[in-house]
Symmetry: C2
Subunit: 241 residues, 2 copies
Amino acid sequence: MSEDAFLAAYDPDAYGRLALTVDVVLMGIRDGQPAVLLLKRAEPPQAGLRALPGGFVGVEETLEAAAERVLCDKAGLSGFHLEQLYTFGAIGRDPRMRIVSVAYLALLPEAAFAAAQSNGAGLLPAVIEVPWAGEAGGPVAVRAPDESGSLRLAFDHADILALAILRLRGKLAYSGVGFALLPERFTLRQLQAVHEAILGTPLNKPAFRRRMLDRGWLEPTGEREAGTSFRPPELYRFRQP
Amino acid sequence: MSEDAFLAAYDPDAYGRLALTVDVVLMGIRDGQPAVLLLKRAEPPQAGLRALPGGFVGVEETLEAAAERVLCDKAGLSGFHLEQLYTFGAIGRDPRMRIVSVAYLALLPEAAFAAAQSNGAGLLPAVIEVPWAGEAGGPVAVRAPDESGSLRLAFDHADILALAILRLRGKLAYSGVGFALLPERFTLRQLQAVHEAILGTPLNKPAFRRRMLDRGWLEPTGEREAGTSFRPPELYRFRQP
DNA sequence: TGAATAGTGTCTCTAAGACATTATTAT
DNA sequence: ATAATAATGTCTTAGAGACACTATTCA
């Protein structure tokens, strides 16, 4: 049957219902480590587990608009880097009903990440532990800051988070995503710290500087960081090449 | 409102309906050029334009299963490389109703690509013209083989196709996707031709051979291509490292 | 002046491009 | 032998890692 014929004969009530949601990975750097903002589930199923903030997609709402709405409603934020990750549609991923979820990744600079906690409806930061050295990915552990045990994530949210880190790692080298985790003006040291946190490995300082400067991504502001001790580093700005 | 509260109060009939489909980019190499299998739309809207094969996602059906069903129903094929590309959810992308579509990319070796024409329900090959030299992407043109004018694609299918090529280009260097476009046994020349067709640029032979062999992806079969003239090239097999 | 951090110079090593050369087969 | 294509050797160049060095500021 052709798509048209199917569509012409399609009766939405003849089949069971299928819901579409977005889940947003709100990621930032906290104390030099990758971190994510999670809700603690109050109700069953999976009460007590941490979950990514999410919401249903309205019929007259773009997927991206739905993700922005979640970012605003749950974290009180707007205007940050947002990109689609992947769509999760396993049959039993939500025990209540068939829910297909489009996962989004939002990147927050340190200040916005902190602000989301005060604004937000119960969003709590969790440190992302990255036990794998940087290849094909694998399971990801999260823990509450200053605690040792790892938190369990609801539904398939651990998979979503693992994909977010993986995507971020992959895009870090050839795209400007790293800058979305920094304030408007930043030092090269801060930029390198962000890259090291995401990649989970130390980087070579001269090579890193060369790469970044040769890319043409960095615009020197001429200003230097105030209030620091010793030689104050130069502040740079991100310039889309 | 929390996700749970929303869900508890959620009445599927209180809102308008939103449909979920999959659209599949069936891609292969034809006469040394990237090509895609398209349906010619018989009915309005956009009758006469070419469209990607697609179908609705069943309530008890995985997204990937839906894509495989399309691959089987429309092209009579099964078991080929299939990966999710992106989810398209713009409001007006389909004029009939709100349809969110999860795009998939299927990669077919030359034989399967040809077979899909005879098996299939009106699938026709179209050559993908890649006018951009290899950077950030852009509009993609398709034309019928042996004709010069470019075909118009229905809905947002040109965007989907552009993303498919872009994804393929990006993954070619560091993943084994290229092998999905070749038969089980192939020569290094054929492999290089596939890479050149996808990237749209000639490659250096010794460097290409070194890269491929050093990767550990290639297993020599010890056999050589039969029926060719002059020195017959060695046949290799893809081995997941 | 010394401590601490910012920033650079330089050597080496690896990998890719360019180009030429050798190898193998059919006629 | 010659033609045609497969496969390799080698030189050069670009970029990354390692490491040591210089530069700048505060106490």
